[in-house]
C-alpha cells in the first residue's frame, strides 16, 4: 500500500497557522495583541495590493484609497441602516471593485509613471470629496472629522469586548487573503498577469486581453482592500478620513509589498511581519522622546532595505537558500557521496 506523504510546504503552513492561533493563549497584554493584529491587517492589505501591483506589475500608488471606501460604506450602512458589517463589507467591496474598473479603464491606458501619478490623483480626488462633504449620498460621514462606529456588540456586528475576538477574525481574513493570492498566482490569470508585467505586447500576441486582465486584477484587489477596510475600521471603531483615505496608507501598503518582494506570495507578509512592529516600537520609544525622529529612523531602515535588497526581501532569501543548497550539492558531489 502506498503511504500518503505530506507536502512539507503544507505541513509547515499548518504548523505556522496553529502557532499563530495559540498566540492569544500566551499573550494577554492588550497592546501586544494590538501590535500583532496590526501586523496581520497590513500583511493582508499588502497581499491584496500585490495582486495588481506585484503580479500584474502596475504601480498603483493610490490604491490604498479602497481601504477607506470599504470602511466608510460598511460603517455608514451599520450606523444608519443597521446592516451587519459582514454584509456591509461585501457591498463596500463591490463598490470598490466597480470604482476600480471605472478608474482602471481610464488610467490603464497610461504607462509607467503616468499611470502611478493618475492613481495618486484618484486618491486625492476621493479623499478631498469625503473630507469636504459632511454628507455623502444622504448619509452623515462627518467630512474631515472622524466618523465613530456605533457600539452594538456581538460577532454579527464585528464588535468584541477585547482584542482576542479581533485577533481571530483578522487572522481568518489574512488566511483567506493569502489563499486567494495563492490561487490567483497559480492559475491562468496568474500566468497572464506575470506575462503582462514583463511584456504586455508579447502577452497580447499570445491571446491575452491585456486591458481586461489588468481590470480584473484591479477589481479583485480593490474588492479585497474594501473588505479589509471594513475589518480595520471595526477593529479601530472609528474612521479618520485623513488616515483611512490618506496617501500614507497607500504608500505604507505598497512599501510592504515592494520591500518584501512584489510579485511573490510570501514577500508582502514577511515585510509586514518585520516592519509593522519596527514602526510601532519606533513610535513608542523614539517618537516619545524626540518628535519626528521615529519616521526618520523608519525611513532610514527602508532605504537600507531598498539599497541592499533591491529585488525584495523574500527573493533574496530564496536566492541565498538556493546558492547554499547548490554549494552543498557541489561539495557532496566532490566528496563522492
Amino acid at each position: 500500500m502506498k503511504r500518503k506523504t505530506w507536502n512539507p510546504k503544507v505541513v509547515s503552513l499548518g504548523v505556522i497557522c496553529l502557532a499563530v492561533l495559540m498566540i492569544p493563549r500566551f499573550i494577554t497584554g492588550t497592546l501586544t495583541l494590538q501590535y500583532i493584529i496590526n501586523i496581520m491587517i497590513f500583511a493582508y492589505f499588502a497581499t491584496c495590493w500585490n495582486i495588481v501591483g506585484g503580479y500584474a506589475g502596475q504601480l498603483a500608488l493610490g490604491n490604498g484609497v479602497f481601504v477607506g471606501i470599504g470602511a466608510y460604506v460598511s460603517a455608514v450602512l451599520f450606523n444608519y441602516e443597521g446592516i451587519s458589517p459582514f454584509i456591509g463589507m461585501l457591498i463596500g467591496g463591490a463598490i470598490c471593485a466597480v470604482l476600480a474598473i471605472f478608474i482602471g479603464s481610464l488610467t490603464f491606458r497610461l504607462n509607467g509613471s503616468y499611470f502611478a501619478l493618475a492613481t495618486v490623483a484618484m486618491l486625492h480626488i476621493i479623499r478631498l470629496t469625503f473630507m469636504s462633504n459632511k454628507y455623502m449620498f444622504g448619509y452623515k460621514t462627518n467630512g474631515a472629522l472622524s466618523l465613530n462606529i456605533k457600539w452594538r456588540g456581538g460577532f454579527q456586528n464585528m464588535q468584541f469586548e477585547n482584542n482576542v475576538g479581533y485577533f481571530y477574525l483578522i487572522f481568518a481574513l489574512l488566511v483567506v487573503g493569502i489563499l486567494i493570492s495563492w490561487y490567483i498566482k497559480n492559475s491562468k490569470m496568474g500566468y497572464y498577469l506575470q506575462a503582462i508585467s514583463t511584456n504586455p505586447e508579447a502577452a497580447n500576441s499570445l491571446g491575452v486581453n491585456v486591458m481586461a486582465m489588468k481590470l480584473k486584477a484591479n477589481a479583485i484587489s480593490a474588492f479585497m482592500l474594501g473588505v479589509g477596510g471594513t475589518f480595520y475600521s471595526f477593529f479601530l471603531n472609528v474612521i479618520d478620513p485623513s488616515k483611512m483615505l490618506g496617501y500614507d496608507m497607500s504608500v505604507q501598503i505598497l512599501l510592504f509589498a515592494i520591500i518584501g518582494g512584489s510579485g511573490t506570495l510570501v514577500g508582502p507578509i514577511l515585510a509586514a511581519v518585520l516592519l509593522v512592529p519596527v514602526q510601532d516600537i519606533l513610535r513608542g520609544i523614539v517618537g516619545a522622546s524626540v518628535q519626528g525622529l521615529a519616521p526618520m529612523v523608519y525611513g532610514l531602515i527602508l532605504m537600507i532595505f531598498v539599497y541592499y535588497l533591491p529585488r525584495g526581501l523574500w527573493p533574496s532569501i530564496v536566492t541565498l537558500y538556493e546558492n547554499l543548497t547548490f554549494k552543498k550539492k557541489q561539495r557532496m558531489a566532490k566528496d563522492g557521496r
Binding site: S187, Y191, Q194, A195, T198, A202, N204, S205, L206, G263
Partner: protein
C-alpha cells in the same frame, strides 16, 4: 489547397510616410510563404497589421473567410494566427516552461494540462535542457527558439515568423530551417520574413518581395531570384547593369 489568408490593397501610413502601399498577398493552406525586401521595405509593418498590432490605413485582411483588419492582437491570436518578434520579447522573469505555458493556456485553461502541452512544445523546439531557466538568462539562439515555442503553444493555423534566423550562426541557422520545415509538415501554414537567403530559398514555396512599401515581385524562389526588378532593388542600378 484552399485560401487561408488574403491581403488586399493593404496600406499603412505613418504621418507622411507610406510604410506599406497597396499590397496584395495570398497564402494557401499548408504553404510556406517567404517575405523579403531590403531594410525598411515594410515587411514587419505588414506582419504587424496581420497580427493586429495596429490597424491598416486602408485595405482588407481576410483570414479563413473572415475580415480581420483592425481587430486587436489577442483576438487575432485566438482565431489561429501566431507570431514571433524580430526583436525578441521574452517574459524575462519566467522560466522557458512558464513562458510557453502562457501560450498554451490559450486553448486550455487548466494549468496542469497547459504545462504538459508546453513541455511537449519546448521539446519540439529543442529547448528541454533550458526548461527551468528564466528568460533573462537565455542567449540569442535560445531566445529565438523560445519565441517560436510560445507562438507554437497557441496551436496556430498560421504562423508569422519574423527573422527567426537573424543573428544565428550557420549551424544554428541550419537547425532552425529544419525546425521550421517540421512545423510546416505538422500542418501549420507559415509566412516567414528573413534576410538569410539560404533559408528563404530552401524553405519557401512562394516568395513575395517588397520594396519601399510596394510589392515588386512574387513567385517561386527561382522566379523571384531571376526577376530583374528584385535584383535592382537589392543590389542597386549599377550592380544590376553589370549583371
Amino acid at each position: 489547397m484552399s485560401k487561408m489568408l488574403e491581403v488586399k490593397d493593404l496600406t499603412k501610413r505613418f504621418g507622411g510616410l507610406t510604410a506599406v502601399n497597396k499590397v496584395d498577398m495570398n497564402v494557401e493552406k499548408g504553404e510556406i510563404v517567404g517575405l523579403i525586401g531590403a531594410n525598411g521595405a515594410g515587411k514587419t509593418t505588414l506582419f504587424n497589421m496581420i497580427a493586429g498590432a495596429f490597424p491598416p490605413s486602408e485595405g482588407t485582411i481576410t483570414f479563413n473567410g473572415r475580415e480581420i483588419q483592425g481587430k486587436p492582437g489577442y483576438e487575432i491570436c485566438r482565431m489561429g494566427i501566431g507570431r514571433t518578434y524580430q526583436i525578441v520579447k521574452p517574459f524575462s522573469n519566467l522560466t522557458v516552461l512558464d513562458n510557453t505555458v502562457v501560450g498554451a493556456l490559450l486553448l486550455d485553461s487548466n494549468v496542469k494540462r497547459a504545462r504538459e502541452k508546453a513541455r511537449e512544445v519546448v521539446h519540439t523546439v529543442g529547448l528541454d535542457y533550458r526548461m527551468d531557466v528564466v528568460g533573462a538568462d537565455l542567449n540569442l539562439p535560445e531566445l529565438k527558439r523560445l519565441e517560436l515555442a510560445r507562438a507554437l503553444a497557441t496551436q496556430p493555423q498560421l504562423l508569422l515568423l519574423d527573422e527567426v534566423m537573424a543573428g544565428l550562426n550557420p549551424a544554428d541557422s541550419d537547425k532552425m530551417i529544419e525546425l521550421v520545415r517540421e512545423i510546416n509538415q505538422s500542418g501549420v501554414t507559415i509566412i516567414i520574413i528573413e534576410h538569410v537567403m539560404k533559408a528563404i530559398m530552401r524553405l519557401s514555396h512562394r516568395i513575395y518581395v517588397l520594396n519601399q512599401g510596394k510589392l515588386i515581385s512574387q513567385g517561386t524562389p527561382e522566379e523571384v531570384s531571376n526577376d530583374p526588378e528584385v535584383i535592382r532593388s537589392y543590389f542597386g542600378e549599377k550592380r544590376y547593369a553589370k549583371n
